[in-house]
């Protein structure tokens, strides 16, 4: 009996014949060469954006958040939108490094490091927003529960409080996970680097890694445990972010589907951002044979799945708003779709639900320019999703006398631009200072690196 191997053969995770030293060279190249003009140009752009945001933020500190467009009834607007957006961006990293690891998806190795780094940067960016939104960020220390002289305790019933714990835990665990994965790579870099500060730094950071069997044993065990610990974090962080809205009794916010819907949306937006960045990285750093089209296709499949889950949630919310028979719920949803913010709503629907449906077609999944357009639309759509949820639910209060509109000011927009500036500055610095792909892990998935368990019955395979 002969089997057709078309359906069982795994596509090679690293294309072309690649030697271990070639992998070292390719991945270490961005760190060992002087950055080109493009990189400096991009960095200049990012830093300019960052500085613009910093100026807007400085003025906000000086004059207060009255500079923003927030008002009554729209008390939450760009700040919380940006917070949720950036937290969401961070979700791809943990999903890739923890959940895909537990599910034995070996293709994750090529994209895990970058996604994890983006997680950390995104969470750092996100963390700014709740702090500045409180208006007096120098008092934010009271968010941490500690026995102080004033006997001031945070409100433990508030999901905003849970956010403090969830996000800081997430940042810590993501960072530890990222660093553990970097240790073998630091050792490789240490051995490649000639004496100097760089060598000293790599020596310290590699924690005396010698690639011994025992080291690897400990490493693998730690990695597995951290993956197990991070998995609930993928769910918990955005679940709690969704609680910020869903525990309230505001129509449009209070609905039970919010937790899984937010998590799916977060993974969706995270993959959108990872894809956006990696499409450039693989090109610029000549890593097309490591981050292959197959990787992008698989990410597109995840985008299709999560985008459809988000679509299910939109539909469900709309249906139940009608089914509930609650006139306030009904009004909020009809107002979302046809009210003054209808443009934002339909941007969200088309970017998050309609365009990703193109990924049903294999040709489109594998077409990189089309993918790039769609993933950028996903980023846009997911930002608008949070905007729609927050602003449209608030701008029509229960009494028509307290209806309002939200119009962003220069400072709102400036801080949003600044957050992108911060994120991309960090990404650009990372791309030049640390290995953007795990050197050690990618070596393990090169064809021929692992003993195969396949019993060869005939010479076909």
């Amino acid at each position: 009996m002969s089997f057709d191997s078309t359906y069982t053969k795994e596509l090679p995770l690293v294309e072309s014949k690649t030697s271990f030293s070639e992998i070292d060279n390719v991945i270490a190249a961005p760190m060992e060469s002087k950055p080109g003009k493009t990189w400096f140009l991009l960095l200049a752009l990012s830093v300019t954006m960052l500085l613009f945001g910093a100026v807007c933020l400085g003025l906000t500190f000086w004059f207060g958040i009255g500079l923003w467009g927030n008002n009554q009834p729209v008390g939450w607007a760009f700040d919380i939108t940006n917070f949720v957006f950036w937290i969401g961006i961070g979700h791809a990293g943990t999903l890739i490094s923890a959940i895909l690891f537990l599910l034995r998806q070996r293709w994750r190795t090529a994209i895990a490091r970058f996604a994890e780094a983006m997680t950390i940067f995104a969470v750092m960016t996100a963390g700014i927003f709740p702090l500045i939104h409180v208006g007096r960020p120098w008092l934010a220390g009271y968010l941490l529960p500690y026995p102080n002289q004033n006997n001031v305790w945070p409100n433990f019933y508030s999901p905003l409080m849970w956010d403090v714990f969830a996000v800081s835990t997430y940042l810590t665990v993501s960072f530890v996970f990222w660093y553990i994965g970097l240790v073998p790579d630091f050792a490789t870099l240490r051995d490649r680097t000639k004496a100097g500060i760089k060598k000293a730094l790599f020596t310290i950071l590699s924690l005396g890694w010698r690639n011994s069997n025992r080291h690897w044993q400990h490493y693998e065990r730690t990695y597995l445990i951290l993956a197990g610990l991070s998995t609930p974090l993928v769910l918990s962080v955005h679940t709690i972010v969704s609680f910020d809205f869903a525990v309230s009794v505001i129509p449009g916010w209070h609905t039970t589907i919010f937790p899984p819907y937010f998590v799916a949306g977060a993974v969706f937006s995270g993959f959108g951002m990872v894809s956006t960045v990696l499409i450039f990285v693989r090109k610029v750093f000549h890593m097309e044979h490591i981050i292959t089209v197959n990787h992008l296709e698989k990410m597109n499949k995840i985008l299709l799945a999560t985008g459809s889950i988000v679509g299910y949630a939109y539909a469900m919310e709309f249906f139940i708003a009608w089914y509930s028979g609650n006139p306030f719920e009904m009004f909020v949803f009809i107002n979302r779709a046809f009210g003054p913010y209808a443009w934002a709503y339909w941007t969200m629907i088309s970017c998050n639900v309609i365009f990703p449906q193109l990924f049903w077609f294999k040709k489109i999944r594998r077409a990189i320019p089309v993918t790039l357009v769609i993933v950028i639309l996903v980023n846009v759509g997911m930002w608008f999703e949070r905007f729609v949820i927050i602003v449209t639910s608030l701008h029509r209060d229960f009494l028509p006398s307290s209806w309002g509109m939200f119009v962003p000011t220069l400072y709102d927009t400036g801080i949003l631009i600044g957050s992108f500036g911060l994120f991309f500055t960090l990404v650009l610095l990372f791309a030049r200072t640390l290995p953007v792909i795990s050197i050690a892990e990618i070596k393990a998935v090169v064809p021929g690196a692992q003993p195969t368990h396949k019993h060869h019955t005939n010479g076909q395979h």
């Binding site: 069982t8 309230s248 039970t256 919010f258 937790p259 299910y312 469900m316 139940i320 028979g325």
Partner: protein, 389 residues
């Protein structure tokens, strides 16, 4: 290694038929005594059979959709169990006679005096309800026939194009599965309390269905292996993924259940919280608390480790445990509408265990008697058999 088909023992079929007949007798007696209660029991049975039958078909589809190979040696179990879908068509008919006992939105005189029910009547009315039920059954039947036919044809021809065709069917079924399951959950269970609503409800039932489907697959996989009916190459490592999936979806259920509970509890709106308060009346309190431990805490603690997921004995016990948990969950969802004061538990409810095990065993046996227990010429089988952790 060639697979040699071994017939299931007569005892299996006999036990199945005895349980089935006993179940029917109990149910018939229950109808004779108190038809309203019997309809609720019957709905409970029907929903459980959807979980098993449609859930099994979803697992078949899922394997094709994601291109999994580890599950190929076990796929026939789900293909056989999916045949329950054919029986669902028959099983649903008696339920239509009980619509008035089960759903008070079906009484026109009640609806006309209730503004909320009136506003819902474009959705909750007999015609549309029937259309939706038929739609769901047609979708399930169609994909059942297409996918199972292709898979069985492959046993004879070994044509790999059949796998490709099933990849398409599996992919198309995935969204339809979620949509039909949501419709089923809202129509047959959520509308028992027509004033109540929860956007999470469809996902809640979905998560329970997946737990039940993976559990029943695991149970059969372990039992069949113990009796040497499956390929001898299957070893303990093959069970790892089954255990992991059971664990993952059960934890997912816990997450969904907790989220739904917390949001309703926290907002404490009378239009929502009465549904939970109903489940806190009298002895329902104990069912609610038991559900937390039986469906989540205990399975979580037992299955969290790696060695448990490769231990067939533990997996077998946990599979039965989780099937019981899913039954308890459905009981908790359905029965409070029948009796709000306390959990009804009498001889009538015995129809449930007899019938669900009876139907499952009989259907499995009927399907297995003429078919291979292993998809012998599936191109993915070899890779599945050579699975290593």
């Amino acid at each position: 290694m060639e697979y040699i088909k071994k017939a299931l023992p007569d005892k299996f079929a006999k036990t199945g038929w005895i349980l089935l007949v006993l179940g029917i007798i109990i149910l018939a007696a229950a109808f004779a005594v108190d038809s309203r209660r019997a309809f609720f029991d019957y709905l409970w049975i029907y929903m459980f059979m959807i979980s098993i039958g449609v859930g099994a078909l979803a697992l078949v589809a899922l394997e094709y959709l994601v291109g999994a190979t580890w599950s190929t040696p076990f796929r026939r179990i789900d293909e056989f169990l999916a045949a329950i879908i054919m029986l669902l068509v028959l099983m649903v008919i008696p339920l239509f006679f009980g619509i008035h006992d089960l759903y008070h939105w079906s009484h026109n005189e009640i609806v006309s005096g209730d503004a909320i029910l009136q506003s819902k009547s474009p959705y909750l009315n007999m015609n549309f309800f029937t259309i939706r039920t038929i739609f769901c059954l047609v979708v399930w039947l169609f994909f059942f026939f297409m996918m199972i036919r292709n898979s069985e044809k492959q046993d004879l021809t070994g044509d790999p194009r059949l796998t490709k065709r099933n990849n398409i069917f599996g992919t198309a079924f995935a969204p339809l599965f979620v949509i039909t399951l949501t419709i089923t959950a809202i129509d047959w269970m959520m509308s028992l309390e027509p004033h109540w609503f929860s956007t999470m409800y469809g996902i809640y039932y979905f998560s329970g269905t997946m737990v039940a489907a993976f559990s029943v697959t695991t149970l059969f996989a372990v039992r069949l292996k113990e009796g040497h009916y499956l390929d001898p190459k299957i070893n303990n490592e093959h069970y790892y993924s089954l255990g992991a999936m059971m664990f993952a979806f059960n934890t997912f259920w816990g997450y969904i259940a907790f989220s739904q509970y917390l949001l309703i509890w926290y907002a404490d709106l009378p239009e929502e919280n009465f549904w939970l308060l109903m489940r806190w009346e009298g002895s329902w309190k104990f069912v609610s608390i038991a559900l937390i431990f039986i469906h989540f805490v205990i399975p979580f603690l037992v299955l969290v480790g790696r060695s448990q997921k490769t231990n067939p004995r533990i997996l077998k016990i946990m599979a039965i445990w989780l099937l019981f948990a899913h039954a308890l969950d459905l009981y908790w969802l359905i029965m409070p509408t029948y009796n709000n004061a306390g959990a009804p538990l009498g001889w009538q409810e015995l129809a449930f265990p007899f019938l669900v095990t009876g139907i499952t065993m009989v259907v499995f046996n009927l399907r297995a008697s003429k078919r291979n227990l292993v998809p012998v010429r599936d191109p993915k089988l070899e890779s599945g058999l050579n699975f290593h952790l």
